[in-house]
């Protein structure tokens, strides 16, 4: 793939990468740093990308690996409140203006519930259900078998359901 074509295509996935970065880091500026670092690495290793394969999944893989390398240590170190939600973590949901309070509450509950999911569950769930990636691609990104991905997604949903019942 020509460099220009690579750049153009890579840029198309910026919003999706930023969305996942926000849910992984729970911090706006760290999410931006993570996305920038992802693109810097993607450019650095662009020669390793195999044309014809899934660029979107490749970028997600770089983003996740970068997150695990540089951010997860701090995530583990961050203080957790009793319900497992990082202290001081405001819900990322910020588009409630103009919506009814019930809808906004549902957003916030879902957001809070997602925060409590471990990364191993949260990432495959978001990639498969929100970003619509194939399970094979998710498995490649997570570096585990497809069966494990299915299991994690299933368990992630079970946990989410449980958390949402708690809030209700």
């Amino acid at each position: 793939m020509a460099d220009d074509e690579f750049r153009q295509q890579a840029l198309q996935h910026l919003d999706a990468l930023h969305n996942l970065a926000v849910y992984l880091t729970r911090n706006g500026s760290e999410a931006e740093d993570l996305v920038q670092e992802t693109y810097v690495r993607a450019m650095r290793f662009s020669h390793r990308f195999q044309p014809g394969t899934h660029l979107r999944a490749w970028l997600f893989q770089i983003l996740r690996n970068t997150f695990l390398t540089f951010y997860r240590l701090r995530e583990r170190e961050s203080a957790l409140s009793e319900d497992g939600v990082p202290e001081g973590d405001a819900p990322m949901f910020h588009d409630a203006a103009g919506r009814d309070s019930e809808s906004a509450g549902a957003h916030m509950d879902l957001d809070r519930a997602l925060t409590r999911l471990p990364e191993e569950f949260k990432t495959p769930l978001l990639l498969a259900e929100v970003e619509g990636l194939a399970l094979e691609d998710v498995a490649r990104i997570m570096d585990c078998p497809v069966g494990t991905v299915k299991s994690r997604i299933f368990r992630a949903k079970e946990r989410l359901r449980g958390y949402l019942k708690d809030y209700a």
Binding site: E32, M43, A57, H107, E129, V130
Partner: protein, 239 residues
């Protein structure tokens, strides 16, 4: 990797649909988009070395350093002052001390670097070791404002010393004031006491580059050094 999209899971009692419909999406803000576009731009052709070369003002720098050494102890130090300012002053003092006492003499970098990383608590998964313009000449652990970190010393072809200090960032937040777009980053650029500083946060660490490159032309050169170091060095806190 395959490119086919996954059909939404049907066995989840609506959880997948709930996520798709109710979970807020966070599109990239315009600032990030601009930065990424900049990052993806093809590299500009390098300027010839002679275009970067300008005669260094050695006497002015030496005077500035000596003045700093004599004046630094008498500078006011209010408790609870701006942490960025405190770190900046500490970095300047360390830089002046190193340069004045000749501590930036060349060392055996391959030996010094692992030792410095081990003792500083700051590791480098990538490190810029130099090119025809600037060379890494030393690495050592350092201690600034109660923070243990690593100090890398570079020397450019004109003999200017550029010190790059990395310490745990903690809660130090860099102000918006003084931020300058350099290539694809927006660090804080300051001139203090006859020295130039570039500060930024990276992977939770506070990174500071300091040098005696202060004139407009020299500062442009200093920014180029920043781009080289920033794009090729990846520090992370070990602890």
């Amino acid at each position: 990797m395959t490119s086919e999209k996954m059909e939404p899971q049907e066995d989840d009692g609506g959880m997948g649909r709930l996520l798709r419909e109710r979970l807020p999406r966070h599109p990239a803000p315009p600032v990030l988009r601009a930065a990424v576009v900049e990052a993806l731009m093809p590299e500009r052709p390098r300027q010839p070395w002679w275009a970067l070369w300008l005669p260094p003002a050695f006497s002015a720098v030496a005077t500035a350093m000596i003045m700093l050494l004599f004046l630094a102890p008498s500078l006011p130090s209010a408790p609870g002052a701006d942490p960025v300012h405190l770190v900046t002053r500490a970095v300047l003092a360390e830089y002046a001390r190193s340069v004045f006492w000749g501590e930036t003499r060349s060392d055996v970098v391959p030996v010094a670097l692992p030792r410095a990383m081990e003792e500083s608590g700051v590791a480098l998964s990538w490190v810029f070791t130099g090119d025809e313009d600037i060379q890494l000449i030393n690495a050592k652990p350092t201690y600034l404002e109660g923070r243990r970190g690593i100090e890398l010393a570079y020397q450019d072809s004109a003999g200017h010393t550029v010190t790059y200090i990395i310490v745990p960032g903690g809660s130090v937040a860099l102000p918006e004031r003084g931020r300058v777009q350099i290539d694809r980053w927006r660090p804080v650029v300051r001139k203090e006491n006859g020295f130039s500083l570039i500060l930024w946060r990276q992977q939770g660490l506070l990174c500071v580059m300091v040098s005696d490159l202060v004139s407009d032309d020299d500062l442009a050169r200093f920014k180029q050094y920043f781009v080289k170091v920033r794009s090729s060095t990846e520090p992370y806190a070990v602890y």
